[in-house]
């Protein structure tokens, strides 16, 4: 391995010192417009077998410890926030199918999404509002953030585990409206007679409306 040249050293120092991941453009701007592409490739290579790696997450670059050393470095006090099952599912749905509306998320999960669930994901910095869908009601749609990619060690969403297989199986196709309505299609009139509780209700039902309510 030859000694790194000045540009390589400068890029190395800049990325190393930065408190935030930086895009190639940001690095270049910091280095007075130097071309940093080759240097980044060279550095990624230099560090490939070391205890720290230069990684690209989305468009941004940063150094992080090699994943195989996790068992040595894991620290209790830095435990990542534990997400509820609902939140992890919602996150996965947004990640694999972005951008999606709340109604679409609910159609897939078959239940309403508690107000706080999306808030938790947005507070973690993994999910953002990505505009509105241009359909009646103009629902807000959600997508993942660069922080999401960084946190889960993904260069792009294409690296999401199993995404190709899911797509090939048609499981990532847009959620059709009929699916949202499915559970309701035959039930509206039957519901009355079936709903008669066989027992005295001791506590109010949890009030979760049927699937169709997700619209």
């Amino acid at each position: 391995m030859s000694a790194p040249d000045d540009i390589v050293r400068a890029v190395e120092a800049a990325v190393f010192a930065s408190e935030q991941p930086m895009t190639a453009e940001q690095i270049s701007a910091h280095l007075e417009g130097a071309d940093v592409k080759d240097a980044l490739a060279r550095l990624q290579d230099d560090y490939a077998e070391r205890g720290i790696h230069l990684v690209q997450r989305g468009k941004s670059w940063h150094f992080e410890t090699a994943p195989d050393l996790a068992h040595l470095l894991r620290r209790e006090r830095e435990q990542v926030r534990r997400l509820s099952r609902a939140a992890t599912e919602v996150l996965a749905i947004i990640a694999y199918q972005e951008p999606v509306s709340r109604a679409e998320i609910e159609a897939i999960r078959g239940v309403q999404t508690a107000k706080g669930t999306l808030d938790v994901l947005m507070e973690a910095g993994w999910v953002r509002v990505a505009g509105r869908r241009e359909v009646p009601g103009r629902p807000v749609i959600y997508a993942t953030t660069p922080d999401f990619l960084a946190h889960f060690g993904l260069k792009t969403r294409k690296e999401l585990p199993g995404i190709d297989e899911l797509r090939a199986a048609g499981l990532l196709d847009p959620v059709d409206d009929e699916m949202v309505e499915l559970a309701l299609s035959a039930s509206s009139q039957d519901a009355e007679q079936n709903q008669a509780p066989a027992c005295e209700p001791e506590a109010p039902s949890d009030g979760t409306p049927p699937d169709g309510s997700a619209e």
Binding site: S18, G110, L171, L184, A186, A191, A198, S205, D211
Partner: protein, 272 residues
């Protein structure tokens, strides 16, 4: 596909295939807790489908429907309170089952096979997302498995101002300041006037030597005498003489007459 779905119906009894929540039957609380653990009927359906221990694409929908309906029945028998959406799903599944078993001709569109297929797709999709969520959470995560630099120095760009000012602006600014600062000079020119006193003595002495009417202008000094050519001084003299005439009329020493508005003002001494 539809034959597969229907074929599945013959496989074993629904109850045996199901060692799930209801297996804990007899203990109402246990079952209730299980219901609590499901996030809605779709979740329950997916759980039941998984218990068939086949690929979700291979599940028997009829079997699944039976299992679900059995479950709901049991829950009702045990006087458990089921959320409305579980019952709605039960009704719909009952409808689906009967449609699947009906002769083909009487069926509407979308046909029951199509509906069954969609339900199966839904379960697959939920299953896939659930699995993906688990795989995602199991990745090497920043801050848990891999770590960014603990104490980065931080990059900073300090903006420095390069001030610019032109020679012209500087010099002009000074000019402006001086202009503003120049003391404002108020000069009152010494103006030549005929005072009221001198007009009074002049008019009263002239009235003493004439008995006839005299025009006010004739009391003014001749414009040939010294400064009296100055029109400003003449205006002053006229004004003062007029006031003097009014004063003389007031104390009864003179009489004033004017034939028309703006006409000549005439003056005559009053014999006392």
């Amino acid at each position: 596909m539809s034959t597969d779905l229907l074929a599945g119906a013959s496989e074993g009894s629904a109850f045996e295939a199901w060692d799930g929540p209801a297996a804990a039957a007899g203990d109402d609380a246990a079952l209730y807790l299980e219901i609590d653990g499901w996030e809605g009927p779709l979740d329950l359906l997916l759980d039941l489908a998984r218990r068939q221990k086949v690929d979700l694409r291979q599940i028997s929908i009829l079997e699944l429907v039976d299992q679900y309906l059995t479950y709901v029945e049991q829950a009702e028998k045990m006087c458990l309170e089921l959320a409305a959406d579980y019952l709605v799903m039960a009704a719909w599944l009952a409808y689906l089952k009967s449609a699947l078993l009906l002769p083909r001709e009487e069926q509407e569109d979308p046909g029951p096979e199509e509906l069954a297929l969609r339900l199966q797709m839904r379960l697959q999709r939920l299953g896939a997302m659930r699995e993906s969520a688990a795989r995602l959470m199991g990745r090497d995560r920043l801050g848990r498995d891999v770590f960014a630099r603990g104490a980065p120095e931080g990059l900073r760009i300090d903006r420095k101002n390069a001030w610019k000012c032109e020679w012209y602006d500087l010099v002009k600014a000074y000019g402006d300041v001086k202009q503003r600062a120049d003391p404002v000079v108020h000069i009152v020119h010494e103006r030549m006037v005929m005072t009221l006193d001198s007009a009074l003595s002049r008019v009263s002495s002239m009235l003493g030597v004439t008995l006839d009417w005299m025009e006010l202008r004739d009391f003014l000094p001749s414009s040939h005498e010294g400064d009296w050519a100055d029109p400003r001084l003449r205006r002053s003299a006229l004004a003062s003489s007029f006031v003097a005439a009014l004063e003389l009329a007031r104390i009864g020493k003179a009489e004033i007459a004017q034939e028309e508005i703006f006409g000549p003002l005439r003056l005559k001494a009053l014999k006392s």
